[in-house]
Symmetry: C2
Subunit: 155 residues, 2 copies
């Protein structure tokens, strides 16, 4: 799916996103055109979605994070609910899931009280029948894909 050079390139960009194509080529020991071609291809294939800024909600004042499991009314399906959830800024992420619940959202709030406000908004969404929330106390492993990239290198 990916070769060693790709993986090293992604690793490099992950650790020092500032360096640019030319510097990458120097550190990887390949020609600049190669790095450029690899990057283009990785983006075309969707392996790299982009280089957007990685914003920390906590630094914006949203210091509490939580996961909310939703049960929704079967009639109407997931999409209308997802759309309404998407309209809430504090809803960071929404998945449909297997198991007891129907959907799982990641949300943030400025405080536990503020979280309640967000949850109330979610409960108010038409089609949501029940919610169950767990608060994230700490995050020993923050979202990462580098190890995966390295594991995905074809031998």
């Amino acid at each position: 799916m990916i070769d060693d050079l790709d993986a090293r390139l992604i690793g490099l960009l992950t650790e020092e996103p500032r360096i640019g194509v030319l510097e990458c080529s120097r550190r990887l020991g390949v020609a600049r055109g190669t790095v450029q071609a690899r990057l283009d291809r990785l983006q075309e294939r969707g392996v790299i979605r982009g280089f957007g800024p990685d914003v920390d909600p906590a630094a914006l004042g949203y210091q509490v994070a939580a996961f909310v499991t939703l049960e929704i009314r079967q009639a109407g399906g997931h999409d209308p609910v997802a759309d309404r959830l998407a309209a809430i800024p504090e809803v960071i992420e929404v998945h449909t899931i297997t198991g007891g619940g129907d959907m799982l959202c990641r949300i943030v709030g400025r405080s536990n009280q503020d979280l309640q406000r967000v949850i109330d908004q979610i409960v108010d969404v038409e089609g949501v029948q029940r919610t169950s929330t767990v608060i994230a106390l700490a995050t020993p492993v923050r979202q990462r894909t580098l190890p995966l990239v390295r594991a995905a290198v074809r031998p």
Copy 2:
């Protein structure tokens, strides 16, 4: 926590990460030095963690995503468990949580069978007593912070 210019800057960079400082300044209608200073300050304050490549596990062949709730043995605490989980590449994210479980991980696998392999590795981690997995079937809202950034603008 953030002002309107900051928010517009982040928005711009989120939607077109390629554009660079000078182009930002043109589009925002401010001087280049201002954009540069704002960016520096946003990064210093930790609002922007970085500009790393956003890698899509699915494009790497890891097409199944899941959330695993762990119950761990009380003796020893969370950290040793988190460390061992961090050693598994397919573990994308780990939180400690309130509620019935003790930890919540996001994991990926190449298939449902492969997911089983990953879960087995997690169960094998010393201190893990029980796990409960839900598979993410779809992701109507992918991780995002832009709405939050806009909501966080101080008036």
